[in-house]
């Protein structure tokens, strides 16, 4: 909408001003890398970070989210009586600083998943209070990134504010009215000038060659490659290696599958029902009460995950389920990666057709 200049020295003051009204979270440095956490001191905020272990999805879909509380006790006639009270957890004005463009693409998918079909008010209530401040990625995070392949190198139109580091200050783009109001909260920004905008254009063009391509097929071809490669041998090979630990889905910015758990208080009358992150890679995921498991083999589960990322989610919600962030690759204990899987499938299919 509009472009502003925020000087780097004024960033801490901006953060402080926001803290007066909002919970402010962002990337901070830890012993093992970076992670999104609450910012108590503006100096903790690390906008020039590589990647975080978990994406900011935890603020959108908490790992353990209470859906309702219940009381289940005898009524006057000795019958079981139920009282239910819905809970909308973690609904508070929150500013998330420093969201990479890949992660914004993940959030854009979440917004569709939870709004389309049955509207999930637990998500939507929380989402309405979240402000996204993106940061333009001028360098790839590391060797595992393949955002350029997945088309997530640029910011999707979901940010409230988006910052690009330029010549010792930040160029701030306002994406929404919400974001516009955030900027009005502080006195540290000034309108960008024509030269700033030209300079931004140069800066963004210059970033393109720094990112490498890793896939042998374009992202638009992956759905058809996966459709044709359903019975490929690569799934068995990956299934043999996979440990079914679920690390890949835990760190994935587009994974949203959940289990539902009840917790009963020690008085055996009060308790709560919560949804918790689940993983399609775990053996029990598709098991039914009669004992039949619809995805009992690891190869079937690995395939399901890749199919979901590269095909199924797009069929349902119109967006691919992979942002190229590389987190599953970094987390995998046996080095199963999306690029190697897609490329391996491509190679196998090429051979098949050539023979």
């Amino acid at each position: 909408m509009s472009l502003y200049i925020l000087s780097k020295e004024k960033l801490p003051e901006f953060v402080k001003a926001l803290q007066a009204k909002f919970r402010v979270v962002g990337p901070v440095r830890t012993e093992t890398g970076y992670e999104f956490d609450d910012i108590t001191d503006p100096e903790q905020l690390q906008l020039d970070y590589s990647t975080t272990i978990l994406p900011p999805k935890k603020y959108f879909l908490p790992q353990h989210e209470v859906l309702f509380q219940f009381h289940s006790g005898p009524n006057g006639k000795g019958n079981k009586h139920l009282e239910l009270r819905p809970i909308y957890q973690d609904v508070q004005p929150t500013v998330i600083f420093g969201v990479h463009t890949c992660d914004m693409n993940g959030i854009m998918l979440y917004d569709k998943v939870f709004a389309e079909g049955f509207r999930d008010e637990h998500y939507m209530e929380r989402r309405a209070q979240i402000y996204i401040i993106g940061i333009e990625c001028l360098h790839p995070c590391d060797e595992a990134s393949f955002c350029k392949d997945m088309g997530t190198l640029t910011a999707p139109p979901i940010y409230d504010l988006h910052m690009t580091e330029m010549d010792g200050h930040y160029l701030v783009d306002t994406g929404t009215e919400k974001g516009e109001r955030l900027l009005q909260e502080n006195l540290y920004v000034q309108m960008a000038q024509k030269e700033d905008i030209q300079r931004l254009g140069q800066l963004l063009s210059a970033k393109w060659p720094r990112f490498r391509m890793r896939l042998k097929v374009s992202k638009d071809q992956t759905p058809s490659l996966l459709a044709l490669g359903y019975k490929a041998k690569i799934w068995e090979q990956l299934g043999d290696r996979c440990l079914a630990c679920g690390s890949c889905t835990n760190v994935c910015p587009t994974c949203f599958c959940f289990d539902v758990e009840d917790r009963m208080d020690i008085n055996m009358q009060d308790g709560e029902r919560a949804r918790v992150w689940d993983s399609c890679q775990l053996r029990e995921f598709a098991l039914v009460a009669g004992g039949h498991n619809f995805r009992g083999k690891k190869s079937e589960r690995v395939r399901h995950r890749v199919m979901r990322k590269g095909k199924y989610i797009k069929q349902v919600h119109g967006l691919l389920g992979c942002t190229g962030c590389g987190r599953c690759e970094r987390a995998c204990l046996v080095n199963i990666t999306i690029p190697a899987t897609i490329n391996g499938l491509h190679d196998e299919m090429q051979l098949e057709s050539g023979s």
């Binding site: 309702f68 079981k80 049955f118 599958c257 009840d262």
Partner: protein, 293 residues
């Protein structure tokens, strides 16, 4: 792109308003008004929604049944819309942690209900057709929601053929109703058991052995089969052998479900959510999914 048009939100009880919020996960508190022990494993529960509200289901839909503190699971609705007034019925097998607790409940106890969910059988599109319904085992419970609906609109349909297979005589469901159907001129019922006992005088064999005893008009028949996954492979082969097209064969899918509203991911069959796009699918639709059968 493909999935959303099948979502049927009109008939659902949830989301409902509560304190100005709506939650798709909050069950409606309902009361058990009757319990009938059907077999060693199954009980029939009659359930009343607040103010006797009609469930508003389509045959073949399911509800999510909750015992807070224990869990929630999808259960097929046994009642046809034609026989649903201020109560509806569920036939529940004691097969897991949740159903185990459900079986200990008493008349007057309250449970949580969400739904009805899913795509039911489009029974009105079957008008004028001969109906061949082939339930196996517990599949007779969801099939009954359709059979009773047909019987209550009997003149709208051609023949009504019911081929019911059960593992053994003691597991036969709804014996009183089977006897009623047996007496009717306009219902052609055949029952078989895999493992007979000394008192069994009926047919013996798996459900597919019944098919040789029926002649059908393949141009005007809709077949509906509900049962365990393994059964579908063999029943569909019989039906195709009788000249039916895959489009004329309907089936109901069982999957693990945690939400019922197309979010939790457990019930996915390829890109489809069984809880929303199913559980009722034609064989033609099922053939398009690699994971279906």
């Amino acid at each position: 792109m493909y999935a959303t048009p099948l979502i049927n939100q009109k008939t659902t009880l949830t989301p409902r308003s509560y304190d100005g919020h709506t939650s798709i996960f909050l069950p409606t508190v309902a009361t058990i008004t009757d319990i009938k022990t059907e077999t060693r494993l199954e009980k029939i529960f009659t359930i009343r929604l607040p103010n006797g509200q009609n469930l508003g289901q389509i045959p073949g839909q399911f509800v999510m049944v909750s015992i807070p503190g224990v869990g929630e699971a999808p259960i097929s609705i046994m009642s046809s819309p034609s026989r649903t007034t201020d109560t509806f019925r569920l036939c529940i097998r004691n097969a897991g942690d949740l159903t185990n607790v459900i079986h200990t409940l008493q008349v007057g106890d309250e449970i949580g209900i969400r739904g009805p969910f899913g795509r039911g059988f489009p029974w009105e599109t079957f008008f004028g057709k001969d109906m061949l319904i082939a339930p196996g085992g517990l599949g007779l419970a969801p099939a009954r929601s359709l059979i009773d609906q047909i019987i209550d609109h009997r003149t709208n349909f051609g023949r009504l053929i019911i081929l019911y297979g059960s593992r053994n005589p003691s597991e036969l469901l709804f014996r009183d109703v089977l006897a009623e159907w047996e007496k009717r001129d306009d219902v052609e019922l055949m029952v078989t058991v895999d493992r007979p006992n000394d008192t069994w005088t009926g047919k013996v064999g798996v459900i597919t052995t019944l098919f040789e005893h029926v002649q059908i008009n393949p141009f005007n028949t809709v077949a509906v089969t509900v049962g365990p996954p393994i059964m579908y492979r063999f029943v569909t082969m019989e039906l195709l052998g009788k000249g039916l097209n895959p489009e004329q064969i309907w089936m109901s899918f069982e999957r693990r479900m945690k939400c019922g509203v197309g979010k939790c991911g457990h019930c996915q069959v390829n890109h489809r959510y069984t809880c929303q796009d199913g559980p009722s699918w034609t064989y033609a639709e099922a053939l398009a999914f690699e994971e279906a059968l």
